[in-house]
């Protein structure tokens, strides 16, 4: 009985020096609004707020810091941990050419990013081959060829009716013959609900066995990002993401949603229309941007 009443008094004392439920709820209300406005998925926000509340409850108050600010710090750290690791590099093949397959929704920036990645890897002393496997979109092959010319990287194209999996397969054979150590596959944009086109992507992956399957996502994606990313990941087991058009003012909250549902890391970000405009991903920068 004595130990019980003692611990009651003790905990009462501690209560005055810890974050209260009021402190936490007030701050989290604002965080919820900010994250939703930043396009983080509704359910991901709810889950995230609940996790933060658990972490924040009963935390000892830090001297000279307002309780609200302390909660924000918990939020910030939790977001960094979610969006991490600090940098997830590309993984390369240990024998034979590394195959990198770009995929994603229409207009997300795949073709441009293929060019950017090729230039970056060339700058690292590698010998890339670009593959124009989008035979659907008008002038898609030409688009990749123009980019290849700009950076003096060869582009494998095939205009005699071969389907994309065949084009990619022959590109791989060509790469081995020409001593190319990276093969970058540009694929047509497609909806995750388009079963025949998703099957085509699975077929390309089956015949080329990519070392890296990268989902290219627009930074301005909204709530639906979870649906498309989940689908692509479930069907292809992607290795990572590239977030494009980060040079705009979209808050990029979809990135958090995508990370939450796929668990896959963001490897690079696109920061402009020029072929040099690709950077390594830094979670802390995106988190500050997300919190507005």
């Amino acid at each position: 009985a004595i130990t019980q009443s003692f611990s009651k008094v003790f905990s009462g004392l501690l209560q005055r020096h810890r974050l209260t439920d009021e402190n936490i709820d007030e701050a989290l209300k604002e965080v919820r609004t900010a994250l939703l406005a930043a396009d983080v998925n509704f359910r991901v926000v709810r889950q995230f707020i609940d996790n933060v509340r658990l972490k924040a409850v009963g935390q000892t108050l830090i001297q000279n810091v307002r309780p609200g600010e302390q909660v924000i710090k918990v939020v910030h750290d939790e977001l960094i941990e979610l969006m991490g690791p600090k940098h997830s590099p590309l993984e390369f093949s240990t024998e034979g050419p590394t195959v990198i397959m770009m995929c994603g929704l229409q207009g997300s920036g795949k073709t441009t990013t293929c060019g950017k990645l090729a230039l970056r890897l060339k700058g690292q002393g590698r010998h890339p081959l670009l593959v124009a496997a989008d035979i659907q979109r008008p002038a898609a092959v030409r688009q990749l060829q123009v980019l290849g010319e700009q950076i003096s990287v060869p582009v494998h194209a095939n205009t005699n009716g071969t389907a994309p999996p065949g084009i990619c397969q022959e590109a791989l054979t060509k790469a081995k013959g020409d001593g190319k150590d990276v093969v970058i596959l540009d694929t047509a944009g497609r909806l995750h609900i388009d079963d025949p086109l998703m099957k085509e992507l699975e077929e390309i992956a089956r015949v080329t066995r990519p070392h890296q399957i990268l989902l290219v996502c627009d930074a301005m994606l909204g709530q639906d990002a979870v649906n498309s990313a989940k689908s692509f990941n479930e069907r292809l087991a992607i290795h990572g993401l590239i977030l494009t058009k980060m040079d705009g003012d979209a808050r990029g909250g979809a990135a958090l949603s995508i990370k939450q549902v796929t668990g896959k890391p963001i490897k690079f970000i696109g920061v402009g229309e020029k072929i040099e405009d690709i950077e390594v991903f830094h979670p802390d920068r995106l988190v500050s941007r997300m919190l507005g």
Binding site: A139, G222, D224
Partner: protein
């Protein structure tokens, strides 16, 4: 969303979630949910069917009075300027518009004012060839305003009914690119004071709240007469149109429902609202 059950707070949260996941956005969701709660208080609804029906009504009311028709010039050509951020669907939408007007018996001309992006002109040329539509273009890297000027000139001399101008994708945050667009508008106006008769912002339905910022900025810089919501054939709902219409008074004129030249429909508010819950 399960129908035929009694209404409780959980139900309201579910409806709110549907609106959020449709990219309706915080402000608009709050506004609509408040009206729904008020309606529920004043006329106690029995079950979720009634509540859902009432919500759809509120959403449709939110879009009423929207003028989705096109403004035709008194004397041809009618000039349509198509703008938007990178990859939203502008060039493909222009092909669809071209087909639509051609099927109505109109003579159409395209202007290739994206002189910057790799193979942009080739892309539009392929669409033009498929449709048998003339394409006015200069060399890669030419000044978009001078292409626009020549295109208006050509449209006038070729007795064209509709001139559709394709522009390069540009993020609204890039001042120099927005100024480039403004120059295209001014040059067109010089030749035809009432043009462009329509300035259409093509939005990607998968875009979140940034679509509202895009609409605000493009509207501020060059004026907008309408929005085309592209890629609505995916799972994204394009709910941002409520905010765009209520806050900026910009109507939706068309929706893009695929990658083929037939995949364009006039905006239908009732169908759009139903699609949000489909």
């Amino acid at each position: 969303f399960r129908l035929r059950r009694p209404i409780d707070p959980q139900v309201l949260e579910e409806l709110e979630e549907i609106l959020y996941s449709a990219d309706v956005g915080g402000e608009e969701v709050a506004r609509v949910m408040e009206r729904l709660q008020a309606a529920h208080r004043e006329k106690r609804m029995e079950d979720t069917d009634q509540l859902l029906g009432r919500l759809k009504e509120e959403l449709k009311v939110g879009l009423q009075g929207m003028d989705s028709g096109l403004r035709w010039s008194a004397a041809p050509p009618t000039v349509l300027l198509v703008v938007g951020v990178n990859g939203s669907g502008k060039t493909t939408t222009i092909a669809k518009l071209g087909k639509r007007f051609q099927d109505e018996g109109k003579k159409v001309v395209f202007a290739a004012c994206d002189t910057f992006r790799a193979a942009a002109m080739e892309q539009l040329q392929i669409w033009a060839d498929r449709l048998g539509i003339d394409l006015v273009h200069h060399q890669q890297g030419a000044d978009p305003a001078s292409v626009a000027f020549d295109a208006v000139q050509a449209a006038l001399s070729r007795k064209t009914d509709v001139l559709i101008i394709d522009t390069a994708g540009r993020l609204h945050t890039k001042d120099h690119l927005m100024r480039e667009l403004d120059k295209v508008v001014r040059v067109v106006k010089k030749k035809l004071p009432d043009a462009p008769h329509e300035t259409l912002l093509v939005l990607d339905a998968t875009t979140g709240q940034n679509a509202l910022t895009q609409a605000k900025t493009f509207r501020e810089m060059i004026g907008l007469t309408g929005v085309v919501m592209a890629k609505l054939d995916g799972t994204a709902k394009g709910g941002i149109v409520f905010a765009i219409y209520n806050q900026l008074q910009v109507p939706v004129k068309f929706v893009g429902l695929g990658e083929k030249m037939e995949d364009l429909e006039a905006f239908d508010p009732a169908a759009f609202v139903e699609g949000m819950f489909g």
